[in-house]
Amino acid sequence: MRLLFSFLLLILANNTVAADMADTPTGRVILTVSGAINTKLNATFDLAMLDALPQYTITTHTPWTQGLHTYRGFSAVDLLDHLGSTGTLLQITALNQYMTEVPLSDFLDNGAIFATRQDGREISVRNLGPIMVIYPFDEREELKSERIYGRSIWQVSHIKSIVLTE
């Protein structure tokens, strides 16, 4: 009974997210998603659309910022769910065209998020925004590695969802 109730709540929440989220951006487009998604064209998002996704918070130090900061943002899992994507690997490109690949499992297992807020404020381009990939480094020591640092991309502008086949 409890399971059934939880399942219903989840469906309701997903429907609520979908309903709250506008189809087209009204503000400045800060993120473009392409690849294995359910639209023929690229999906574009402004900050409001991204804020409509379930939000997660990580408080941690990072090698490229000073002091402890609280980051808030969305998970790639919710984003791909929203887009009906079955992608397992994200090819993420920054504003400077730097590109890296992050497996979706990092968002599921390692608790990574796409941060859009730093200490409650939007992250400017100058402060490596508007979107950063943040891992909970302080919570899990094993994340403090060159491999994960390389995936911690900032100034994210484009995500390509890729379905990896074995």
């Binding site: 090698p63 490229w64 910022t65 000073q66 400077n96 381009v125 100058r126 402060n127 060159e146």
Partner: protein
């Protein structure tokens, strides 16, 4: 004391060993920590992220400056507003500058080329900050500022290029220095590893030694436990033995005392009193022997040598058993070889205990016949001991005691053959197996650094040889000098004795008195008329020819000595009786008296 010192030395050695072990463990711990630290440092030194980020961000700054310039050149000047795009591009460029000015990258870059990179970066930042005014105008649609803006960005290009070059150079130097540090750390780690390996080998050695020592201690502990058990058992046996040994004289005392306490006193009160006295002495002797045995076992018995005349001591030892031997009809004699110094330095009390034990054993195993005691120089080498003052040398005397008894049982012989100088036989014979007297005798002999040997034949008797070292005093007292002869030279003595052992001892005694001995070992009583004195011993022919012989000797006034009861008790003889134990002093006294009388009579005639 020496053993104690040895143990102390061992203890100090073990203490140092323990200190060494602790130092080893500390060294190993330090080595391990040093290796961990060096490895950690090496890991840090090996971290390429910071200096690679510096170079990456510098190149990104250059790239972004070109992109920004390109954006401005390609800007659509017909647009009324740029909707923040220009500032967006500007922020992108400035973010690269910020990355180079903050965090670990900034710290690293600051040290490149003595701070020249920092100065350049500040200039670049300042120049770029100044562009914001023109940029806001362009953002508002006023493109008149665009050429100036482009020109200014172009002018910064030289500084950015120089900055990138310096960062590249600095990064290379930094990498080189890090590599050097890394190599040094690796060398240190190698050295520490070798040291650690050596220490581990040492530790293994210590552990192996420790384990073997532990095993040895456990074995020793087990052995000690067994020994403790054996001591308890021995104590019980000893107490049982004490009980057994003391019971007989105590019962004798109690019996005699009870008889004396009777309302009707017995006729032989004197004999009973004597019996009580003897039993009391016997009891006292047993207690003293037990005490001595305990002291020997505890290594507390000290020998106290005194310089005294040897012969009387030896003779007294045998004399004290005259009653006992007379009751058994045993004939006994003692001979002290004149080759031994008259006065010697030895623990006479212990010598007496040894002799008493041997004589008692001989009496116990001899039902008839004779017991002869000889004390003579031994052929054994004297032990090398420090000489006390007043002592000229150390020699060895041999006590030889022979009996004509039935011999000792094999078990007793086996027990007596234990040699305490051998490691497996340290305990020596136990009193419960060989008897209190022999056990004490055996222990005393070896305590005095002597040796004890014996030979036994069933029904033929035993002979003990006991070698005991003694000190020879530097000066012999005045009375040790031999007296002048009281009889002429070539004085002949006829000795009639069929027992070869008795004949041998008496011959030796007479020879020591410088008398010529003619031995009639077949017991013949025929005299060749040349004898100055006749000693009649055991002879089966006496019963038949004794009377005639005595008459003949009497007729020619030849003095006769005898221990033969038939001769002594002969009604028509003037035979002087000899008593057992036959000693040299007894013989000397009697012969001197007889031969002096003879000499006087000869002179008168």
């Amino acid at each position: 004391m020496r053993l104690f010192q040895k143990k102390m030395w061992l203890s100090v050695f073990k203490q140092w060993l323990l200190y060494g072990f602790i130092v080893l463990v500390i060294v190993i711990t330090l080595a391990v920590f040093s290796i961990i630290t060096h490895t950690s440092d090496s890991s840090k030194n090996n971290s390429r992220r910071v200096f690679e980020s510096a170079l990456w961000n510098a190149l990104q700054l250059q790239l972004q400056s070109y992109r920004f310039l390109n954006y401005l050149i390609e800007l659509d000047q017909t647009a009324t507003s740029l909707n923040g795009d220009a500032f967006f591009e500007y922020d992108l460029l400035m973010s690269r500058v910020d990355l180079l000015r903050e965090g670990d990258v900034a710290t690293l870059v600051r040290n490149f080329e003595s701070g020249r990179t920092t100065r350049l970066l500040n200039i670049i930042n300042g120049e770029l900050e100044l562009l914001s005014f023109q940029l806001s105008k362009i953002e508002g649609g006023d493109f008149a500022y665009l050429p100036t803006l482009v020109e200014r960005i172009k002018s910064i290009d030289t500084q950015i290029n120089e900055f990138v070059t310096l960062v590249n150079k600095g990064s290379n130097n930094y990498i080189s220095s890090q590599h050097q540090k890394l190599q040094k750390n690796l060398d240190d780690i190698q050295l520490l590893s070798i040291m650690l390996l050596a220490c581990l080998f040492c530790l293994c050695f210590f552990i192996i030694k420790g384990v073997s020592e532990l095993k040895r201690v456990v074995r020793r502990n087990n052995a000690l436990n067994v020994n403790i058990q054996a001591v308890h058992e021995d104590k019980a046996r000893t107490l049982a033995f004490v009980n057994q040994e003391t019971r007989r004289p105590i019962h004798a005392i109690l019996g005699a005392a009870s008889a004396l306490n009777n309302p009707t006193p017995p006729n032989n009160t004197a004999a009973l009193s004597k019996h009580i006295e003897e039993s009391g002495h016997q009891l006292l002797q047993i207690i003293e022997m037990l005490s001595d045995l305990s002291l020997i076992d505890a290594q507390k018995l000290t020998l106290t040598p005194t310089t005294e005349r040897l012969q009387p001591h030896i003779e007294n030892c045998l004399t004290q058993f005259d009653g006992h031997m007379a009751r058994k009809g045993l004939q006994s004699m003692v001979y002290v070889d004149p080759a031994l110094p008259p006065y010697i330095s030895v623990d006479f009390m212990r010598i007496k205990e040894i002799l008493v034990a041997l004589v008692k054993n001989a009496i116990a195993h001899t039902s008839s016949g004779s017991i002869s005691l000889q004390v003579r120089p031994s052929a054994s080498a004297a032990p090398s001991l420090p000489l006390p003052s007043g002592i000229s040398e150390i020699r060895v005397l041999q006590i030889a005691l022979r009996d004509t008894g039935q011999g000792m049982p094999d078990e007793l012989q086996q027990s007596l053959r234990a040699n305490p100088t051998l490691p497996m036989q340290k305990e020596g014979p136990l009193p419960s197996t060989v008897g209190l007297d022999l056990a004490l005798c055996h222990k005393l002999v070896y305590l005095m650094q002597g040796e004890m040997h014996f030979s036994c034949a069933p029904q033929k008797g035993c002979e003990f040889w006991v070698d005991i070292p003694f000190y020879v005093p530097e000066k012999q007292p005045e009375d040790a000098k031999q007296n002048a002869l009281m009889w002429p030279e070539n004085t002949q003595i006829l000795l009639i004795e069929t027992d070869p052992q008795l004949a041998k001892i008496i011959s030796l005694q007479l020879t020591a008195l410088q008398l010529d001995v003619i031995l009639a070992k077949d017991g013949s009583l025929q005299d060749n008329h040349n004898s100055d004195l006749i000693i009649v011993g055991n002879s089966p022919k006496f019963e038949r020819d004794g009377h005639d012989a005595l008459q003949q000797w009497k007729s020619r006034a030849c003095p006769v000595l005898s221990y033969n009861p038939q001769a002594i008790n002969h009604p028509e003889s003037s035979v002087k009786a000899l008593h057992f134990p036959l000693t040299q002093s007894q013989l000397e006294r009697l012969i001197t008296s007889l031969l002096t009388d003879l000499k006087k009579r000869s002179k008168n005639q």
